[in-house]
């Protein structure tokens, strides 16, 4: 018999005694942690004495040891059955069985004492005996919580209690040191800031750390070793000793080896590398961010080093490598990550050189852009070159020879070519990280400026002389103009569609980087740290200013000019696709998981079985993989989920074919027989009406609809010559009073764009000042959001230009603008928010009226970022 078993016997005795005093006629102890029956009997050996049956127990021995009356004790369950059936027996009958005894089924009406009661009793005892201060009381309250009870066994809790009880004068210290008995690492700082929420967080963090060193994957092993490597001579022996202890525990898993560890020391070892001066940590930031930060900090050395490393990496880049590479920074602890997609490198190497200005790839079989991009070696390639009968240069020379324009225009062309040839050598680097490429090399940046100036000057000259050339050769003028407009555009013609990608040297693409790099360099001194931070974040992902790409007729077997709307991007380059009314990229999709976590904070009952419906998720396999990963790691703390997926767009909805992804998804949605996680994918195309009907029958907690609007390519007229800045893609607002409709179009005007559009208009016989743009509108068949909210608690809409779409019903609680897809969350009921606002305002001695409360909530919802959701912490802490 161990001390723990004796203590548990006593605890059982207390629980049983309490039930006896409440006159329970029968008590069954069946599914409980093994305890000492001897201690139990000692505890029960006073009036009123119960009758006790211990299945298979050594009765004689127990009677001798405890002096419990022999008449009241048996090991035979049939005798206990007689007691139960005998009306003369007035005493409570207690049945004890340590095995899963089926015959106890006949005692099913007896009150069952379970481990849960013992656990609770231990906590109660702890409150009375080992909680000398509020910290300990809070701690034992945390230990008593149901979610903690699911992680800590009764045996461990009892052992921990006894450990504390044995050190009555040093309970706070013992609470820290004894954590190993709970399966955790002893911790010095565990009880700092001891609010219940913080203690729970500490417990979870400690548990994660323990799990981590129990498993210790290769990456973690490397991390720990590096931690020792970078330590200075003074710290190294200590860290090495910690590492030894970690490895020993990893090998043995024993309580004794865990007791030798200290959570803070282990964490220090994991983070030693991060904290080491002048060394690198594992934190990874995008390369563009690092580049912009370096410009803003005036850290030329860092910038040059980064540019050099990037160039070296790209020079030595092999096709079969993973597209993500990490590079060390000279003066920062982080590493930077750059994405170098091998197919893009191949494409640019082939089509963007000093002599080649993009071109057209014609594919016989490819169905999608990605397939085409991966298969350029099998495509028919017609480059836009310097030479050739219909090349821009040849046409220009002919026009000059014909005396239609002055020979000086050819000089402008040559200046343009010269500037471009410098840039073309760096095309891949510019595609991967334009800001780093340009800002790290002053000559390159200067070449960029010269190139853009030459382009503007050349295009302006051609524009001004277009009519005179056209009067002599209308067709020739159109050809020349068309060739100029498609410079540095790469077109993919497949049997099903036309795709395009702008080369990194396309002037309207390169423009923003050159301007921004210049401006940041020139004005960094005028910015404070906060402004620099915001600028850094914004510059990480600049908008694309060509939202619809004009492809003149005849270039891709097209008899008429085409306008391709922007569809997604590869590295930093915008891509376009014919007749693609919906943005295909995944932007915004990942925010859904965060929204679900916040939903669970407000509606914790949803954890039991969260019901979610998705319509047209942009990339379902990726989303499900993330979802399954978070469920498995308990980042999304749910016990069940019913997920239904519908499809209303042409975009297919499927689980994909990636084995690893499928395995991860299956590990949650196909795990076990219990249908706790149900995934229902309706692959056939349906309508919003059908979805609505389905939800009426089967409401959900969260309904998320992606891309309900259709993008329309249209021609828009700018009334004012715009001012344009690389960080902001302006929007044009046009109100149609007859249709009572507001059309919002992101459109770039001003600077280079005006001259580009004016040539485009000439070619297109359009009004001066007009340009192509993309606007969005909801179809008439999209239900009013108020109607949808009748079948869901939260409605999430992800779409471009969400702010211009009429929704119709519900309160918006979050609006997160995205570059290509905004995310809004709507709800019918604000009660949860009202209560919380009211509570906290009153806590601050304010007495808000109902009206002012609503006003406050409405205005908070419009806060940029997450709106009201930003006020909810996903870990549930206040």
């Amino acid at each position: 018999m161990t001390d723990v078993q004796a203590f548990l016997g006593e605890t059982v005795g207390k629980v049983v005694r309490a039930l006896i005093e409440r006159r329970h006629p029968g008590i069954r102890l069946q599914n409980v942690t093994t305890f000492s029956p001897e201690t139990l009997l000692r505890h029960l050996n006073k009036e009123p004495r119960p009758r006790v049956a211990i299945a298979g127990g050594a009765v004689g021995h127990l009677i001798r040891k405890t002096k419990f009356p022999a008449a009241l004790l048996t090991a035979d369950l049939s005798e206990a059955t007689e007691w139960r059936n005998d009306p003369r027996v007035n005493e409570t009958v207690v049945i004890v069985s340590f095995s899963e005894e089926e015959r106890l089924g006949s005692f099913h009406r007896f009150t069952e004492v379970r481990d849960r009661e013992l656990y609770q009793e231990i906590c109660e005892t702890a409150f009375a005996e080992v909680c000398p201060n509020d910290v300990q009381t809070n701690w034992w309250r945390v230990l008593g919580r149901p979610e903690v009870r699911r992680q800590i066994s009764v045996y461990r809790l009892a052992a921990y209690f006894l450990f504390l009880q044995a050190k009555p004068k040093k309970i706070p210290d013992a609470s820290r040191d004894g954590l190993y008995l709970l399966g955790l690492l002893p911790s010095k700082e565990f009880f700092e800031h001891p609010t219940p929420a913080q203690l729970l967080r500490n417990l979870n963090n400690n548990r994660h750390l323990t799990n981590r060193i129990e498993i210790l994957n290769n990456a973690d092993r490397d991390r720990l070793n590096r931690g020792v490597d970078v330590a200075d001579a003074k710290d190294r022996p200590r860290l090495l000793a910690t590492l030894g202890k970690v490895l020993k525990y990893n090998r043995s898993g024993s309580d004794a080896d865990r007791a030798a560890l200290v959570a803070e020391e282990v964490r220090e070892l994991f983070e030693a590398r991060k904290n080491a001066p002048k060394t690198k940590s594992q934190k990874v930031i995008p390369i563009e961010r690092a580049g912009v930060d370096a410009i803003l900090q005036g850290d030329e050395k860092e910038l040059i080093q980064l540019g050099k490393k990037l160039r070296e990496t790209i020079d030595g880049f092999e096709e079969d490598e993973t597209p993500y590479v990490t590079l060390d920074l000279a003066n920062r602890s982080e590493q930077v990550m750059a994405k170098i997609p091998p197919p893009l490198v191949r494409l640019l190497t082939r089509s963007v050189t000093p002599e080649l200005f993009g071109g057209r790839f014609k594919f016989e079989t490819a169905d999608t852009f990605d397939e085409a991009l991966a298969d350029i070696d099998n495509a028919d390639f017609a480059p836009f070159g310097l030479e050739g009968d219909k090349s821009c240069q040849t046409l220009l020379e002919r026009v000059i020879e014909a005396g239609l324009i002055e020979p000086e225009i050819l000089d402008r062309w040559k200046a343009f070519i010269k500037g471009r040839s410098v840039l073309a050598d760096q095309a891949v680097v510019i595609a991967v990280s334009p800001m780093v490429a340009l800002a790290s090399d002053k000559k390159l940046l200067q070449a960029g400026k010269d190139y853009l100036d030459a382009y503007e000057s050349l295009m302006g000259a051609i524009r001004d002389r277009y009519e005179s050339v056209a009067s002599q050769s209308a067709k020739g003028a159109r050809h020349l103009c068309a060739q100029l407009l498609v410079l540095d555009t790469i077109l993919f013609e497949t049997p099903v569609s036309v795709y395009a990608v702008l080369s990194p040297l396309h002037p309207l693409h390169l423009w923003k980087y050159v301007r921004l790099a210049e401006q940041l360099r020139d004005e960094k001194g005028t910015l404070n740290d906060e402004q620099k931070r915001v600028l850094g974040e914004s510059a990480e992902k600049l908008p694309h200013f060509v939202t619809a790409l004009f492809v003149p007729e005849g270039l891709v077997s097209n008899h008429h000019a085409l306008v391709l709307p922007e569809s997604h991007q590869v590295a930093t380059l915008p891509c376009y696709q014919q007749e693609n009314p919906h943005f295909a990229g995944t932007e915004g999709q990942d925010r859904l998981l965060r929204i679900l976590r916040k939903f669970l904070v407000l509606y914790p009952h949803g954890r039991r079985s969260l019901r979610v419906c998705l319509a047209d998720p942009p990339e379902l396999p990726g989303l499900l993989e993330q979802l399954a990963g978070q469920i498995t790691n308990e980042d999304l703390p749910i016990d069940g989920m019913h997920l239904t997926v519908f499809r209303t767009l042409d975009r297919p909805v499927s689980l994909g074919t990636d084995d690893q992804q499928l395995e991860t998804i299956a590990s949650v949605f196909a795990a076990g027989d219990a249908p706790r996680f149900i995934l229902n994918i309706h692959q056939e195309k349906t309508t919003y009406q059908d979805i609505q009907n389905h939800l009426r029958q089967d409401p959900v907690h969260v309904l998320a609809i992606f891309d309900p609007s259709r993008a329309q390519v249209g021609r828009f007229v700018s009334r004012e010559p715009g001012f344009i800045h690389p960080l902001v893609l302006p929007k044009e607002f046009q109100y149609d009073p007859i249709e009572d409709q507001l059309v919002i179009t992101p459109a770039a005007t001003g600077d280079l764009f005006d001259v580009y559009y004016s040539l485009q208009n000439r070619l297109n016989n359009s009004l001066t000042g007009s340009h192509f743009g993309v606007s969005s509108s909801l179809g008439s068949n999209f239900p009013k959001t108020g109607e949808l909210l009748k079948s869901c608690t939260w409605l999430v809409l992800g779409d471009r230009l969400m702010d211009s779409l009429p929704t119709g019903g519900g309160h918006m609680i979050s609006f997160e603008p995205g570059r290509r897809r905004d995310i809004i969350v709507l709800t019918e009921s604000l009660t949860k928010f009202e209560r919380a606002f009211d509570y906290y305002l009153r806590k601050a001695n304010l007495d808000p009226t109902e009206e002012s409360l609503r006003e406050l909530i409405t205005s908070s919802a419009e806060l940029v970022g997450e709106g009201l959701l930003g006020l909810i912490r996903s870990d549930g802490d206040e």
């Binding site: 899963e100 015959r103 992680q151 076990g672």
Partner: protein
């Protein structure tokens, strides 16, 4: 001095297991292929089956339909009409789904292809079973007084005269493949199948052999055909896993099996889940310990039983790892040794460091191998690589196979069944009174008895719903062969 790579190979082959658990891509189909090849003593080269199934690779189309149709007009006669070409493409895709194992084990050519075997002509020379096939064959073929296991006869019978649809569909495609005889030879690790009288010295091998005999008995009576193959293969994978995580204690002459707690998922994860994960860690550690012990034995004659730190460092400098990256490995070994040196003796720290260095250098470690078979066989969950917190369970065919291996006929009370479950395979469900104590003895104090019992209740329910158990009016649960099979 032989290189570390060679030494590790040799240790695997002749000391640890006799097979080389160094691939994370192994699938039950690979094991079956190697195993059946030994059982029948021959292999085939079903080239046409391979060409039909492997239509495309990453490099494009390699076996065009036109070519197949023109070269084998009589075999593909129904698809000769131009109008049926599309159907031929679909047929090939469907056939691939049918004969190619989930996750992919069929590649261009049969040298590295394993099929979902339904008849002997599907057996190839693929070596990707890494020797596990020979291990299983040896387990069944060893004469324990009554000749080889009945499972061998059953396997020969099913594979030799298939009666299922898959074999019928593939028959024209494999008809021309000819048999090549193979010789199994003696088992490389002689200590593995060492006998004492009419049984193996190894308790786990005795139980597994009995399990196979029972399974054969069960299938002879109730099953046969493809179902029998499925069960045997599932049990074969299970046998390899059991052997792996018990081998260390077996060499230690410890008769106790390493406990593995099966967890049957409930609505909320309980301490039973934590404990099941802890037993998974325990088994991983048991495998690591085995290698550490073997490497210790390899090191001792070289550096002595109590080497000084200087001697160890010097020895690391002399080691040849058998790779181009000798320096990198040496540096890794040095770091690992120093990390362990503070906590272990010199020899022990060297052994641990060497094991870690070798494992780090392998593309698939024995632990990856163990996980891969477990996940693909339905014994270890969750399946995803990112889900690092694994637990044990028994799913689908494997559950049926393990049940049949204990209870080939008749019925027995649930408690006795659980006892057999533990005694034979070390499997726990939480239903025995001793389960908690067994876990505690292994240093796993994470489970609350209430949760263990609830876990056992889930198992009961599963048995009931599968027809493998019947509850009597007095609440007693009897485990039995399902009536539907009888």
């Amino acid at each position: 001095m032989s290189t570390i790579k060679d030494a590790f190979k040799e240790i695997n082959r002749t000391e640890c297991f006799g097979y080389s658990p160094t691939s994370s891509s192994i699938k039950p189909a690979h094991i079956a292929n190697g195993w059946f090849r030994c059982v029948l003593g021959r292999r085939y080269d079903p080239a046409l089956l391979n060409q039909t199934v492997v239509h495309w690779t990453q490099n494009g189309e390699i076996n065009p339909s036109e070519k197949l149709l023109s070269e084998h007009p009589s075999i593909f006669e129904p698809f000769q009409a131009i109008s049926r070409r599309r159907e031929f493409g679909e047929f090939r895709a469907d056939l691939k789904l049918l004969v190619s194992p989930v996750g992919g084990a069929v590649n261009k050519g049969n040298r590295q292809s394993s099929y979902n075997i339904t008849c002997e002509r599907h057996i190839t020379e693929d070596y990707n079973d890494w020797g596990t096939g020979t291990f299983l064959y040896q387990l069944l073929a060893t004469d324990l007084g009554a000749g080889p296991s009945a499972a061998i006869v059953l396997l020969k019978d099913i594979l030799g005269s298939p009666k299922d649809e898959v074999s019928a569909i593939t028959a024209p495609l494999v008809a021309q493949s000819t048999a090549t005889e193979i010789v199994v030879g003696t088992y490389p690790a002689e200590t593995v199948f060492r006998k004492r009288g009419k049984s193996f010295q190894s308790p786990v091998l005795n139980h597994l052999r009995a399990g196979f005999d029972n399974l054969a008995k069960f299938d002879a009576a109730y099953g046969g055909g493809l179902d029998a193959l499925r069960r045997l293969v599932a049990f074969g994978g299970f046998a390899v896993l059991l052997h792996m995580h018990n081998r260390s204690s077996e060499l230690d002459r410890n008769p106790r099996l390493t406990p593995t707690l099966l967890y049957f998922p409930e609505a909320q994860r309980s301490t039973a889940y934590q404990a099941s994960h802890a037993t998974y860690n325990l088994c991983r550690r048991a495998i690591e310990t085995l290698y550490t012990c073997m490497l210790k034995a390899w090191l001792e004659p070289r550096i002595g039983p109590r080497p000084t730190a200087k001697r160890c460092e010097h020895f690391i400098g002399e080691l040849e790892f058998g790779q181009n990256e000798d320096d990198r490995n040496r540096e890794q070994m040095r770091k690992a040794y120093r990390s362990f040196a503070g906590q272990f003796s010199g020899l022990e720290a060297m052994a641990e460091g060497l094991r870690e260095t070798i494992f780090r250098d392998l593309s698939g470690t024995p632990l990856d191998f163990y996980r891969a078979i477990g996940v693909r066989g339905g014994f270890v969950r969750p399946a995803g690589n990112r889900a690092v917190r694994k637990f044990y369970t028994l799913e689908g065919v494997l559950l049926e196979a393990v049940l049949a291996s204990i209870l080939p006929e008749g019925e027995m009370p649930y408690q006795r069944f659980l006892e057999e479950f533990y005694q034979r395979y070390g499997l726990l469900t939480g239903g025995r009174s001793d389960d908690s104590a067994v876990l505690m003895d292994s240093g796993i104090g994470t489970a609350t008895v209430q949760d263990l019992r609830a876990n056992s209740q889930s198992f009961r329910q599963q048995l009931l719903s599968l027809g493998w158990a019947r509850r009597y009016a007095d609440g007693v649960l009897m485990v039995q062969v399902p009536e539907g099979l009888r």
